[in-house]
């Protein structure tokens, strides 16, 4: 009884701290960096979707940026060219992306491992080529501008602080849903698939169906994040959704620990901070080093996967856990 209380006490405390931080960060602590905090929220959503697929289910997607892009482009095109309300545009984008992911999910998840990786990579690049080439809709390499803000009644999300709360509202919802999925029957099925597909199949888990489901969920997360991204920056171009963008999301997932919901936020925050703040300043002062982040992502990916295949965040958390356990055992002995 006490143990359960203690366990849930900790997670309630963590949740409360997290929410408090979310409110304090833009208003009190990092007011001048709100735009980075918004991007962290957006990338957290994409990363969580990928983590569900990669970390929990053990399936690779090297084309996650494609879904991020379809969300952003659907929103942008509908709201600028057809005057669709941004909320409705976001919904249409998410539904369309979900259907797209569902339709390609079934054939593509007949593949696994390396072949799945290459197929998703190819798919991501095809979608990116479409963004670039269908210029009568997408604006081609220049992209689309003048994307309107979200609004509710007369309330317009017209500054960073307002959009910050909007983005993080969606992000926290996405995180909570993801966490519930992980702890549900579906989550256990996904872990079973990760452990052994043959074993999972033999106990009656329809592995392809579960993989496609979680793939679709990840795509919808990415699409929603893409819509938020478009309505936040008001301008999008194909370079935000290329192969490197997919690699960046994978880097975030790797840093966070592929199989961790909160790790995804940690990973997104770390990488977004590095690329948008720390390195951006370095790049401004020394233009020659402007692309240093690519080198850094490569190093991070290699080092994390070689030495901490569970990811930086999870490895740190596990070592803190075992340190605490050791300490409490010592206490019992003494």
């Amino acid at each position: 009884m006490l143990a359960t209380l203690k366990k849930y006490g900790w997670s309630c405390l963590a949740m409360a701290t997290f929410l408090l931080l979310l409110i304090l960060l833009p208003t009190q602590l990092l007011g001048d960096k709100t735009s980075i905090l918004i991007l962290i929220g957006i990338y957290s959503m994409v990363t969580v979707g990928l983590c569900l697929l990669m970390g929990y289910t053990g399936q690779v997607s090297l084309g996650q940026a494609a879904f991020f892009g379809t969300g952003a482009y659907f929103s942008a095109i509908l709201s600028t060219r057809y005057d669709v309300n941004p909320w409705l545009a976001m919904l249409i984008a998410a539904v369309a992306t979900g259907i797209f992911a569902y339709l390609i999910g079934y054939p593509i998840f007949r593949l696994r491992g390396n072949y799945l990786a290459m197929a998703t990579l190819g798919l991501g690049i095809i979608v990116w080529i479409l963004f670039r080439e269908l210029s009568q809709y997408t604006g081609g390499p220049d992209g689309l501008g003048g994307i309107p803000n979200f609004s509710i009644g007369g309330f317009v999300f017209d500054n960073n602080l307002k959009r910050y709360f909007l983005v993080w509202f969606f992000c926290v919802c996405a995180l909570l849903i993801a966490q519930n999925i992980v702890r549900s029957r579906t989550g256990r099925a996904l872990k079973a698939i990760h452990g052994s597909e043959a074993a999972a199949e033999s106990v009656g888990i329809n592995i392809t169906q579960f993989k496609v489901k979680i793939f679709v969920l990840g795509a919808v997360y990415a699409s929603l994040a893409g819509s938020l991204y478009a309505h936040h920056l008001h301008h999008i171009g194909p370079s935000s959704f290329d192969f490197m963008a997919s690699v960046v999301v994978i880097t975030m997932a790797a840093v966070g620990g592929l199989a961790s919901i909160w790790g995804a936020v940690f990973g997104a925050a770390t990488i977004t901070y590095i690329s948008q703040d720390a390195l951006a300043e370095l790049g401004r002062s020394q233009p020659r080093l402007a692309d240093l982040d690519v080198v850094l992502y490569g190093l991070i990916l290699m080092l994390v996967m070689i030495f901490m295949p569970k990811g930086l965040f999870v490895t740190l958390r596990d070592s803190i856990d075992s340190w605490r356990r050791k300490r409490s055992q010592k206490g019992v002995v003494a």
Binding site: A119, V294, L301, I306
Partner: protein
């Protein structure tokens, strides 16, 4: 489409396809020996081209010494990649290995970009920029070099795998790693050789194609992907099918571009390979997964 245009696009497709074949052979050799898809394979093509340019420009090497030195440097990088990143993570899952080689790829690309800048460069032609005329199409000497080199490499590789001890040991490791180990083949050394050989093949492709089609720090990803397509046509096992697949892909690309019909405009050139990739993977998916299960 006139005959000349057709022949011309066949020739340029064949030239380009030879490069895909060389890259694809690298994928096939590494995969058959180690079971790893090396996502950094395309970067060795970039390294070959860029190194040969900068060796010729700043160290003043002439064409063939530059070729040799570029390939040797690429081989060293390939060996280092295997020894530092792959061997240390030997027991890693497929997902981890994919991420590691992707990390290696963008690391190499990023460093190349920092070192050499983003501008495309063209090393000098091997033997001048003359051309011969066949059926009204002009074929540059460099294209002849490319086809000749690919042919020579294919023959040398075939002899290497059939008649030398190391080649046979590689083949044995590809057929059955455990059994090869049991008869005294050091499979870890074989993996090292596979990575080094693949790096050499990629770099060679990069050196011979660069004078014709320019090169820059970021050409690796797309070329690597096309090499992968070639390799997938060969089922990641057959060398001859990989070579033919690469050439077929190259020809398919250039002919569809020459047709310039409907959706197949040149802007979509890259998409052709990707569509072929998806089709090949899906058609072969059952066979591939059976093989994976068997291993």
């Amino acid at each position: 489409m006139t005959t000349e245009v057709f022949v011309q696009s066949l020739v340029s497709g064949l030239t380009q396809g030879c490069i895909y074949a060389l890259i694809g052979l690298g994928f096939t050799i590494i995969f058959s020996v180690t079971g790893i898809i090396n996502f950094a394979q395309g970067e060795f093509v970039m390294l070959g081209g860029m190194l040969s340019y900068f060796l010729a420009k700043s160290a003043g090497l002439s064409v063939f010494p530059a070729l040799i030195v570029s390939i040797v440097i690429a081989m060293l990088i390939g060996a280092v990649l295997y020894l530092t990143a792959i061997r240390t993570a030997r027991k890693a899952s497929v997902v981890s290995l994919i991420i590691i080689t992707i990390g290696a790829a963008i690391f190499i690309r990023g460093v190349a970009g920092e070192l050499w800048g983003a501008d495309p460069v063209a090393p000098p032609y091997f033997t001048g920029d003359g051309s011969i005329s066949v059926l009204g199409a002009s074929i540059q000497y460099q294209a002849l070099w490319i086809v000749g080199v690919t042919l020579a490499v294919s023959i040398v590789l075939h002899l290497f795998f059939s008649y030398t001890m190391i080649g046979k040991a590689l083949k044995a490791s590809a057929m059955n790693r455990t059994a090869a180990g049991l008869v005294g083949v050091n499979t870890r050394t074989m993996s090292l050789i596979a990575f080094t050989l693949a790096a050499a093949l990629g770099a060679l492709g990069g050196v011979v194609i660069a004078p014709l089609s320019l090169t820059s720090y970021n050409v690796g990803a797309m070329l690597g992907l096309k090499g992968f397509v070639a390799s997938s046509i060969g089922g990641f096992r057959s060398h001859i099918l990989t070579i033919l697949g690469g050439i077929a892909l190259g020809v398919m690309e250039s002919v569809t571009i020459a047709l310039n019909w409907g959706p197949f405009r040149s802007n979509y050139k890259e998409a052709i390979a990707l569509v072929v990739l998806l089709l090949v993977l899906l058609i072969r998916s059952r066979k591939l997964s059976e093989e994976e299960r068997a291993s």
